[in-house]
């Protein structure tokens, strides 16, 4: 008997919230919506705060150097007495802005290429697929180094390199989406009913592909931000005195063996949190607007 009740209760637990009493139910979509808003607000706050403290973040104070984390300086200070918390925030805001530009450029490029591939006939499809294979063949970091070198290094070298290298994976996804939509029953029916190509594109294709595009755009951010940090860490691009996570981390390497662990640990954690905020925003948005995964 007891085994039966336990089996029953575990079965109830396995079934989604619908079987719970009303008071215990979590409104799934509302939770997702709130987490999306919270993530977006937090990201905007990082950017704004980073811009505001930008000048303070680079201010040096040699009476306060090499402090380990304390109340006044939650992330500690470096050997020039710069507050690591402010430097980190300022660096993150640069990262998010670079990520914004990179994700937008790459997402638009991916959309255009995927449309050409899926709608432009066999030759165009083969060419775009080949192009994706080509760019995925060079390891991403190496490609970033090459493009940054081609642009003469410096800030814009990094921005351009990160912006123009993130389209291949999204292109693949969108191409498959558009192909699937084109082959679907409802498009065939609309065609038989005499709908024009333009109206099929606007009324059937765009609503089908747009959610994927938007989610793909947001999920490009984490990659763009991490690559920006990585290429900066390697020493390309952003100059030494600019607050940037990559610069902070590469500087910290010289002080690790002296035991100044906070120089590396906290800025890295802050970067991870930022990246995860984008993941939360992206996956919440996916479940809100994409019918395929709304029941997960």
């Amino acid at each position: 008997m007891s085994s039966l009740t336990s089996a029953l209760s575990s079965a109830v637990r396995a079934v989604p919230a619908l079987h719970l009493p009303r008071s215990q139910r979590m409104a799934n979509r509302r939770v997702l919506f709130v987490s999306l808003i919270v993530a977006l607000v937090a990201l905007i706050a990082i950017v704004v705060a980073g811009r505001v403290v930008y000048d303070v973040a680079t201010a040096t104070d040699f009476s306060q150097k090499n402090l380990s984390p304390c109340l006044d300086h939650p992330f500690g200070t470096d050997w020039m007495g710069r507050d690591m918390f402010l430097r980190t925030i300022a660096g993150l805001s640069t990262s998010v802005l670079v990520g914004l530009l990179a994700a937008s450029v790459s997402a638009v490029a991916a959309l255009v290429l995927a449309s050409i591939a899926a709608l432009g006939g066999k030759r165009a499809d083969e060419f775009v697929t080949w192009l994706v294979d080509l760019f995925m063949g060079i390891p991403h970091i190496v490609l970033l180094i090459l493009i940054s070198y081609a642009c003469g290094k410096g800030f814009w070298g990094v921005v351009i390199a990160v912006a123009v290298t993130h389209w291949p994976s999204l292109t693949r996804v969108l191409r498959a989406e558009i192909l699937q939509c084109r082959e679907s029953q409802f498009v065939a029916h609309a065609h038989k009913l005499g709908a024009s190509r333009v109206s099929i594109a606007l009324r059937h294709m765009v609503p089908y592909v747009f959610p994927q595009f938007l989610v793909g755009l947001i999920l490009l951010f984490p990659h763009a931000i991490m690559h920006e940090a990585a290429i900066t860490f390697l020493g390309f691009g952003l100059s030494r005195d600019m607050p940037a996570i990559g610069v902070i981390l590469s500087e910290s390497m010289a002080y690790l063996s002296a035991g100044m662990w906070w120089l590396a640990v906290f800025p890295g954690l802050a970067l991870i949190v930022t990246v995860m905020l984008f993941d939360v925003a992206g996956s919440s948005l996916r479940r809100l607007i994409d019918p395929h995964s709304s029941q997960e």
Partner: protein, 328 residues
Amino acid sequence: MTKRILRQIARLVLLLLAVSIVVFVLVSASPIDPVQANVGQAAYLNMSPEKRAALAEYWGTDIPVWERYLNWAGAFLQGDLGTSLRYNAPVAQVISTRATNTLMLMLVAWVVSGVLGFTLGVVAAMKRGSVIDKLVKGYCFVLAATPAFWIGLVFLIVFAVWLGWFPVGFSVPIGKSAADVTMADALHHLVLPALTLSVVGVANIAMHTREKAIDVMESDCIRFARARGLTSWQALRTHGLRNLLLPAITLQFASISEIFGGSVLVEQVFSYPGLGQAAVTAGLGSDVALLAAIAVFSAALVFAGNLIANILYGVVDPRIRRGEGSHV
């Protein structure tokens, strides 16, 4: 089967050719003047115009890009990769000494992350909803958002600085002549970089395997096996593993590009003398010949991985071997 493989190889050779063109155009497009960068600012200013012209001719800056590319590619095919300016040695020699280090690092990380990720994925799927599953999912979620070089820094702080178990950097002990370096020394220096790369690589394969395994465990053949009285682990072993292994192997071979990228960063953190570190030095120091050669080499490595994955597909999956599979 043979025809399929030959067609694949032809395709990859074509891709590699395209990669070499892209690489060459990129390094040629750089506004950094090779003559100035290689001679040095001070020497360049003190030089007579005739000397500059002679050098420009020597470096070939006045001939068109495509002609330089043909010269470079022709020499490349004959094994002459040029001279590295930073390391003051033939590029082929720099690459061959460093490739051993990098390949060893990548191989260890590749195997460890593959085996560990696959195991974690299967266990998480079998214990779906349990604490283990949540731990694995959380680990993968956080790891996917973590830059490889930061993990390297944290490992360096914990294992090298605080605990002192492993050396802070390099691939051999400092101040030891090359002849005295033992295998144990080399392994000791390899542990931390390889661990870093493995830990980062686990996330992708574990999440993927978990999802596949959940699909497989809900399939009819597993349900039938369970109805016959097999435990779920037995059913998995006899009916599930082969289905799971195939996509996992493909994914792991496809991740060579990421592992190489990760090794560039990790080598930088641990001052590990491999190809990645050389690529960074070459990029920062305008060592065009070395940078281009490493880029082509890494692309060749990635394409080789893809080729092996495609061939293995045919070996493991009888449907594709017989040419039934449409998704090659």
